[in-house]
């Protein structure tokens, strides 16, 4: 794996479909590892499907995705640990906030200083440390979204994929999430890839834009 010079993702002839319906076809796309990238487009343009494919959660019908120069086909489990996705409507496990944030670290057998790292994750998303004792059903929609984001941030993966991170979020929290996303890139080199309709918010976070339409890349900029 030649991660120093290689782009974060190299996509070639990628096709994804749900059943018999083709929803995504990308001839060629390179996503560099030198900064955040935004994906914009109308509803149904294929942004969410692309993010799932980039998080190795969706098996492509055809084509290849290389991650940091490495071939990912058949090694999805291995690469999944380097790219994590926050879904448009995040799902919290039916456990406490602590257990939700610690889950990914435990799955990686990375439990050293677990309590401190969970507290750090909560702090990054603007929640107090004693929030960790709360049960999943005791959270509001905005709090659940921030806890889900914290559970991804503590993993410090190479790629952080965010699907509509500001949907149904108030302005204050949208600013907070923007700060967290930029910070993760600056502090740990985690590359954020964000799909959103909120162009103004994206402008403040991402330097590069990929525009999509009907499952295809329309243009790239930046």
């Amino acid at each position: 794996m030649n991660s120093a010079a290689a782009p974060l993702y190299e996509i070639r002839n990628l096709a994804c479909s749900y059943g018999d319906d083709p929803v995504l076809f990308i001839d060629r796309l390179d996503i560099p590892a030198d900064g955040p990238t935004a994906f914009i487009g109308h509803n149904g343009s294929g942004k969410s499907t692309l993010l799932k494919a980039l998080a190795f959660l969706l098996k492509p019908a055809s084509g290849t995705v290389r991650f940091l120069g490495g071939e990912t086909a058949g090694r999805e489990n291995e690469f999944r640990r380097q790219a994590t996705l926050l879904l448009q409507e995040p799902y919290l496990l039916r456990r406490t906030v602590f257990e939700n944030i610690a889950y990914g670290l435990r799955a990686r057998n990375d439990t050293k200083g677990l309590r401190d790292r969970v507290a750090e994750g909560l702090e990054m998303v603007g929640l107090p440390a004693d929030f960790s004792k709360r049960e999943w059903f005791q959270l509001s929609g905005g709090e659940a979204r921030r806890v889900a984001l914290a559970s991804r941030l503590v993993l410090r993966t190479r790629a952080l994929l965010l699907d509509e991170p500001t949907a149904n979020v108030d302005e204050e929290n949208a600013i907070l999430i923007a700060g967290v996303v930029k910070n993760s890139w600056k502090q740990w080199g985690t590359v954020p890839l964000v799909a959103s309709h909120d162009l103004q918010w994206l402008e403040g976070v991402c330097s590069r834009t990929v525009s999509m339409r009907r499952g295809k890349i329309e243009s790239t900029a930046g």
Binding site: K52, A55, L57, N77, R80, R81, T84, L85, L87, E89, P90, Y91, L93, R94, Y103, G104, A107, R108, F137, S151, R152, L155
Partner: protein, 301 residues
């Protein structure tokens, strides 16, 4: 007692007459002249039998009399039943402990087989899955006596498992109850796994779970529904009579459960013992239903 006796409007004069012994004039002994001396009927005797303002020979009067006797009988059984429970009557409590022992054994085997089986049925795709699912769903309503019949055939002396001496034993009864409860746990666990939020799988995978952790985490996420399945199966097991009666034989101090004891005591006319056992079974049902309601609330939240 026919339910019609509780509803006076449903009974005609003709049907009331038909109930009386043949060859006797209508009315009770208190209403008639003495058969030997020919003395007139004694109004005091008649009035003393029940506080009725109606003429004793009227249809309304007779209905009132029958209702009064029924309520008296019921109340008597109820209070005697309560006193039997608190007096720690050995016969009553032996039936309760046998029921708990039997249902506990049945449920351990049912959950050990049903939860992994139901999870596989709901989670994985394999050839014949639909047929298996339909079969399990069909077995949900299998009659207890049918199960009793087949298990009896297998474990009786002439059956293939006759050598193990399981007939008229608690393990033998547990086999039958497991067959009754297993489809419930299988079907409800499979449904719980099938109806899990589709985001769960994506979330577990993207957080780094795989293989065994992915399966166990999915199972843990559906724990409330699986508990619900277990409680439902437990309700079926404790309330059944057919298997316990046919396989256990209702042997006193040995295989007599609450339900078989109620059947026997009622048949013997020992209404109070039946009521005592019925109350204990109702208490058990109440605890189960309360647990179900709690779990349902928890699952919904």
């Amino acid at each position: 007692m026919p339910s019609g006796l509780l509803h006076g409007t449903m009974i005609s004069k003709r049907s009331l007459r038909a109930m009386e012994p043949k060859g006797t004039p209508h009315g009770s002994m208190a209403d008639r002249a003495h058969p030997e001396t020919g003395a007139p009927p004694d109004p005091a005797r008649r009035e003393g039998r029940f506080p009725c303002a109606f003429p004793a020979r009227s249809v309304r009067g007779r209905l009132f009399f029958r209702r009064w006797r029924f309520l008296d009988y019921l109340a008597d059984g109820f209070f005697k039943g309560i006193s039997l429970i608190f007096s720690m009557e050995e016969e009553v409590w032996t039936a309760v402990f046998t029921t708990l022992k039997l249902s506990g054994l049945s449920m351990v085997v049912t959950l050990l087989l049903g939860v992994p089986g139901g999870f596989c049925l709901g989670y994985f795709s394999f050839p014949g899955k639909k047929i298996l699912r339909v079969t399990v769903d069909t077995l949900l309503s299998i009659p207890t006596v049918v199960v009793g019949l087949f298990v009896y055939a297998f474990i009786s002396n002439r059956g293939p498992l006759g050598q193990y001496g399981l007939l008229f034993t608690i393990p033998g009864m547990a086999i039958g109850q497991t067959i009754l409860a297993l489809p419930i746990v299988l079907a409800l666990t499979a449904s719980a796994v099938e109806t899990m939020d589709s985001r769960l799988r994506f979330t577990l995978l993207t957080l780094g779970a795989g293989g065994k952790r992915l399966l166990l985490s999915t199972l843990w996420e559906s724990r409330h529904q699986i508990l619900l399945a277990a409680v439902t199966a437990y309700g079926r097991v404790t309330a059944e009579v057919g298997v316990s009666m046919m396989i256990g034989g209702n042997i006193k101090w040995h295989t007599r459960t609450i339900t078989t004891a109620i059947t026997l005591e009622t048949g013997k006319g020992e209404f109070s013992t039946g009521v005592a056992l019925g109350l204990l079974l109702l208490a058990l049902s109440f605890v189960l239903n309360w647990s179900l309601a709690f779990l349902r609330r928890r699952t919904e939240s």
